[in-house]
């Protein structure tokens, strides 16, 4: 028999990977440690690779012979225990780095939210050379495992029928795990991106308001941001094609100017309806620093990038001031007393 390598990528909402699993003479079995039910990817991996699946709840095999571990862990222990042992781990639930062993979970060894679709063959059959030498151990394992874990569909279908309670259990587990994972990601986003910027801006506000620079700034800013001509000037300057890429990075400048205008609105020096055109005026340079990267994400040709960079800069320039004007018109009646 010939073993084949497979590539497993993360599924929707998943983490880690892609993993390439190449069965070898020593590692030609994989385990699944899932509560009660045999996930369909177990059958798929068996079919594609030619490896043998072992239910680790019933039989155990030595760690050094385990090519892969399939788990359905919502984020407590199992998702960390196999990576800790150095075993490639596939989680059918969308669990990321979590649990007490999370430091062992990294994309080179762990992939999650895997369904049948994420398992694909790698077109590389270098491993076939080694097969003849190991026919004996294979037949041995086949003897022990084949009767129990026949990969024919009827048996698995039967399993599905008998364990419908398990099915409800895993379904509920999936919902809870997805929510839980989303919560973990959201907390990370808040901690890593929102709170640091808040701290920075809050410090800036403290310095501006506490030191009296604010008064100077208010004199400078309110004639600009407090009427439509001034806002158009801001929008025009920000959209100048030679300036806009410099103003873009991380939207930091736009965010700081926005905060300063916000302060003046809060104090009452700029009427609140100007908030809407101001939102457009401070961001006419939107994304101008990011064009090559963004086009890269769109898998654009190098020629497209060459044309796309000046093209987007020009279109931002053409659109900049009209955007502010339209927003100004749309602000009529906003917060009117």
């Amino acid at each position: 028999m010939a073993w084949k390598s497979i590539k497993i990528t993360k599924g929707s909402g998943g983490y880690g990977g892609p993993l390439i699993i190449t069965p070898t003479e020593q590692k030609h079995q994989f385990i699944y440690v899932t509560g009660g039910e045999r996930p369909s990817i177990v059958d798929r991996i068996e079919k594609l690779t030619g490896m043998k699946a072992v239910d680790a709840f019933k039989t155990s095999i030595p760690d050094e012979e385990t090519a892969l571990a399939i788990i359905d862990c919502g984020g407590t222990l199992r998702c960390g225990i196999y990576p800790k042992k150095g075993i490639l781990t596939v989680n059918v639930l969308p669990t990321g780095k979590s649990g007490p062993l999370q430091k062992f979970i990294h994309p080179e060894i762990y992939v999650s939210a895997v369904t049948d679709k994420q398992v694909a063959l790698v077109d590389d059959s270098t491993e076939t050379i080694a097969t003849t030498a190991v026919t004996a151990p294979i037949s041995e394992t086949e003897e022990t495992t084949a009767p129990k874990y026949d990969s024919s569909k009827k048996l698995t279908e039967q399993l599905h029928h008998t364990s419908f309670i398990a099915k409800i259990g895993t379904g509920a587990g999936k919902v809870v795990a997805t929510f839980n994972q989303a919560a973990k990601e959201s907390v990370q986003t808040v901690i890593n991106t929102i709170i640091p910027f808040m701290a920075f801006v809050a410090l800036l506000i403290g310095i501006i308001q506490g030191s009296g620079i604010g008064k100077i700034f208010a004199k400078l800013m309110s004639p600009l941001a407090g009427n439509v001509v001034g806002l158009c000037v801001i929008g025009f300057v920000c959209s100048l094609p030679f300036l806009s890429p410099l103003l873009g990075p991380g939207a930091v400048i736009g965010q700081v100017i926005g905060t300063l205008i916000g302060l003046e609105i809060g104090k009452g020096t700029i009427p609140p309806q100007y908030a809407l055109p101001a939102l457009f005026a401070i961001n006419t340079q939107n994304g101008c620093d990011f064009i090559p990267v963004g086009l890269g994400l769109e898998e654009a040709d190098s020629k497209t990038v060459e044309v796309g960079v000046p093209s987007v800069l020009y279109s931002r320039f053409i659109n900049g001031v009209p955007r502010v004007l339209v927003a100004w018109v749309a602000s009529f009646g906003l917060y009117a007393k």
Binding site: G13, A202, I205, G210, Q255, I282, E298, V307, S311, V326
Partner: protein, 192 residues
Amino acid sequence: MKYITGFASGFMNLFQTGGKTFITWMSTIIPVVLLLLVLMNTIISFLGEERMEKLAKASSRNPITRYMILPFLAAFMLGNPMSFSLGRFMPEFYKPSYYAALAQFNHTSNGVFPHINPGELFIWLGIAQGVQKLGLNTMDLAVRYLLVGLVMNFIGGWVTDFTTAYVCKTSGVILSKEVKLSVKEQGETDAA
């Protein structure tokens, strides 16, 4: 001595003022944004990226879907910067325009749906916090921001078609307006 204490308390006042602002944001803005993020991330991981890819393939044909509907949904579903990756289903000529429209959708929808672009939230929040301070409802502003964005971002994407044509003309580069029939796009012809 008087000057030194005066200076020191003035100096500390800067941080106390900043600290007050910070803790107000932490107790008002953070909880709401966090819970919204949790729900949105959950919905998105249930709906999945595959469905968005199908939509992207179908949307490349006309400007309305290309620069209004698709970028709006892409920003909502995938956020900044992953929403850009859907541009790979566009013909080469339209990729800069999709970029132009989408980059703006990543901001204009951010007032109503802050999960789209939490890293650059202060473009919106910086101004909105002033409005909030006056005791006004920021959602009025957020909805108008989104609606004006919907129209103007579309126009922005569409105008980029013309600037791309202009740059192509001046530099002598020809970009395909057809969807390439590479291996990846093969599925598209099947689906269509």
